[in-house]
């Protein structure tokens, strides 16, 4: 036996353990998804933002401390002013970046309401209420999405995701084998389920809503997940060419995963460093987007090492069992 069998992680030996860990990782999110799907309005498993439901979000910059009582008061004031079911949220902004005059937003209050059409004075009503409750609130952003557009966007997003899956399956089937493509797709499903589940949990506990950028984050996770998986598969493909006569398939999988281990970890690490920097020092508007990618890349690394390669190994085993059972004579 050659040195390539020397390794740090036993993938094949503990394959049942790895699959169990995957199951444990996915369980809370899946439960959250099912729970939300039953309890949420319209039975959507995630808290969706106005990009998908339609509505209006106003953001005000306020240079003073805000506590929960202030928010509760503003909420009742808004309801008195005739704004139906406003959702208020305080987004904390970093203050210590650049203390120029324009750049000292302390808190951002975000108010979500039903779609405020062009012929409504909803915006001025809300601004009026805010001006009473706070010192010089500055309207820093308004976004409105009509209800029909929201639905269309949702459909388009799912279509994009479906097409991306299809494109990847076709490409991998051509470049590798259909088995590998399926393992990679299951790996993607694994990672996407984890991230979506995590956001479902965040939606339940912290009222985090997904917006138009979320689908972008998911698609990036898809890209990265496949990226990682391909590096491992590429190594398996290469090792099979040289060692398929000397080693069993399982040994080759083990060796390949271990050979690519340093790369898998280093790459994820460097990407995570940039993303963490974006998360902690970047703007407020992209925080959730970056968080989705951080979760996705972490789980993507796990799945490429412990999930996809295990799947390929399982299938290969099954195939071998079948061929040896049905055609014993061929082996003699």
């Amino acid at each position: 036996m050659t040195d390539i069998a020397k390794h740090v992680i036993d993938i094949v030996k503990y394959r049942v353990v790895w699959l169990c860990i995957s199951a444990i990782l996915l369980l809370p999110g899946t439960v959250a998804l099912i729970y939300s799907a039953i309890n949420n309005e319209h039975h959507v498993p995630l808290k969706v933002g106005i990009d998908y439901t339609g509505g209006t979000i106003l953001q005000y910059g306020v240079n003073q401390k805000i506590d929960n009582n202030d928010i509760a008061k503003t909420r009742t004031d808004l309801e008195k002013a005739g704004i139906e079911t406003p959702l208020l949220q305080v987004v904390h902004a970093n203050t210590n970046v650049e203390k120029s005059e324009k750049n000292n937003l302390q808190n951002i209050i975000s108010i979500r309401t039903k779609f405020i059409g062009e012929n409504s004075d909803g915006v001025s009503k809300i601004t009026e209420v805010l001006s009473k409750d706070y010192n010089n609130p500055e309207l820093i952003s308004v976004s409105s999405v009509g209800p029909t557009l929201g639905k269309e966007l949702f459909k388009n997003s799912l279509l994009a995701l479906g097409l991306a899956f299809l494109g990847i399956v076709i490409y991998l089937s051509i470049r590798f084998k259909f088995d590998y493509a399926m393992a990679a797709i299951l790996g993607i499903a694994h990672d996407v389920l984890f991230v979506v589940g995590a956001f479902s949990l965040l939606g339940i506990f912290y009222n985090v809503q997904i917006d138009g950028l979320f689908i972008t984050a998911i698609l990036t996770v898809v890209g990265f997940s496949v990226h990682d998986t391909i590096v491992v598969f590429d190594r398996i493909r290469e090792n099979l060419r040289y060692y398929s006569k000397k080693m069993s398939f399982g040994e080759i999988v083990d060796a390949s995963v271990n050979q690519t281990l340093a790369r898998s970890i280093n790459t994820s690490l460097t990407t995570l460093i940039t993303l963490l920097a974006l998360y902690f020092f970047g703007g407020v508007t992209t925080k959730d987007f970056v968080l989705a990618m951080i979760l996705g890349i972490a789980i993507g690394t796990y799945s490429s090492i412990f999930f996809c390669s295990v799947l390929v190994d399982f299938w290969e085993d099954k195939k071998n069992n079948k061929t040896s059972a049905s055609k014993p004579a061929a082996l003699v």
């Binding site: 951002i108 990226h227 391909i230 040289y242 790369r263 460097t270 920097a277 990618m293």
Partner: protein, 435 residues
């Protein structure tokens, strides 16, 4: 070696060209960074136009472009998306009322005559003379110094106006602008010659009011009404905040990554860092040259593509280290390291590009920006890793044996103890293995 030196100078020229581009060309920043308004409007059918055809959309776009240009703001965008929608972006105008005043209104000018309703009350009846019959309008003052809007009718309009005023002598004729009564002068005599004036009634027009009216009339009426289906405004404060923070985040992230590369991969890590800086220069120059509008999502795509560029280098170095451990000389190890890593890099980047293409085709404009920067980044990163890093590695390490394994973060004892791949003859030739 001669090829390598030519290549090196080619890289130098590319870098100089990139730096020049960065200095000469302005950066196109998206609305979320500079602040501004973004509207999506949807054309609606009317009785007269029951179907929105491409021709209607073209006319609508033309009319809207005219109006938006009247705002005097640079870098506005009016773009058709889908079958019946227009995307309008107006940088720096964050007052939605101001933005909408030009877009939401249909600038309908109507001349109406007096009539009696069923209960004997005064109502205004359409005469068929509208803004469509105008040739142009200008801003002027009347004899008392009040601002007025002067109208000049086209051929058909002149005739209609003459007929109408002849019929209405002694009666009031009302002028409605966007459904609002502007003035209702009494016609004293038939007006020939196709000219008329709108005064602001008793109170007169404010200058700005009259000017806005003239602009809207000249820009032409919208062929069909349009409703706003999506709107976004970002104040300049939030934009500035985001730019400042993204810059800080980018610099911190990139610095840590570069330090990590040097700490882990030593000299090759430093080479990769230089390649990475060149990569960022080229990509940034490309963004300016194309030009790609940089949005927050776009910057995220850019930073992510840096991650992928680093990945390509990591893949290559890991393979090169393996080859060195197997006891190959430097030239062979670098070549085969690159060659073996290439299939991984290519296949993984292809899937990223596939995803980007799908996103670009189906996504909203935010997502499009992200997909475009990421795809460009991935393509440039392949060039950077395979051409720049490889070239520098060859030039610096040359062809000899590996004398100082610590330059690669390896130990002397490791060399020659690792696996040895059995190459085919073709591969031997390609990697330059002579043994």
């Amino acid at each position: 070696m001669k090829n390598k030196i030519i290549m090196f100078w080619a890289i130098v020229i590319i870098v100089i060209a990139s730096i020049a581009t960065i200095f000469v060309k302005p950066t196109k920043l998206g609305l979320d960074l500079v602040g501004g308004s973004r509207l999506v409007i949807e054309a609606e059918t009317t009785k007269a136009i029951p179907q929105i055809t491409q021709d209607v959309m073209n006319r609508l776009q033309f009319a809207i472009e005219n109006r938006v240009n009247k705002l005097g703001v640079a870098e506005t965008v009016v773009q058709q998306i889908g079958e019946k929608r227009l995307l309008i972006e107006i940088p720096n105008v964050t007052d939605l009322k101001e933005a909408k005043a030009f877009l939401g209104e249909t600038a309908q000018l109507e001349f109406k005559k007096e009539g009696k309703g069923p209960n004997g009350e005064q109502i205004w009846i359409e005469t068929g003379l509208t803004g469509q019959d105008l040739a142009k309008s200008t801003l002027s003052t009347d004899s008392t110094g009040q601002w007025v809007v002067s109208l000049e009718f086209n051929g058909a309009g002149s005739k209609k106006f003459a007929d109408l005023t002849r019929d209405l002598v002694g009666q009031q004729m009302a002028i409605f602008f966007d459904g609002e009564l502007q003035s209702a002068p009494v016609i004293r005599e038939p007006i020939y010659g196709g000219k008329a004036q709108i005064s602001g009634g008793d109170s007169g027009f404010e200058y700005s009011e009259a000017e806005r009216m003239v602009n809207l009339l000249n820009a032409g009426a919208l062929p069909v009404p349009a409703k706003i289906v999506e709107e976004n405004t970002v104040g300049p404060t939030l934009g500035a905040d985001s730019i400042a923070k993204s810059k800080v985040a980018g610099i911190i992230g990139l610095s840590i990554v570069m330090l990590f590369m040097i700490a882990y991969y030593r000299l090759p890590g430093l080479i990769a860092d230089i390649a990475l800086l060149i990569y960022s220069l080229i990509l940034f120059a490309l963004f300016k040259a194309i030009p790609v509008t940089l949005t927050l999502a776009g910057i995220a795509g850019f930073i992510l593509s840096i991650g992928m560029a680093v990945d390509a280098n990591i893949l290559i170095f890991e393979r090169t280290k393996e080859e060195l451990r197997a006891g190959r000389n430097l030239f062979t190890a670098i070549n085969s390291g690159f060659d073996r890593a290439f299939t991984s890099i290519f296949d993984s980047n292809m899937t990223t590009i596939i995803t980007c293409v799908i996103l670009y085709l189906l996504g909203t404009s935010i997502v499009k920006g992200f997909a475009l920067t990421l795809a460009l980044g991935v393509i440039v990163s392949m060039f950077s890793a395979i051409t720049i890093t490889k070239n520098f590695m060859h030039l610096i390490f040359g062809t000899g044996e590996l004398k100082y394994p610590q330059l690669f973060g390896l130990h002397k004892e490791e060399i020659g103890k690792s696996f040895e791949a059995t190459e085919t003859k073709r591969e031997n030739a390609r990697f330059g293995i002579l043994d």
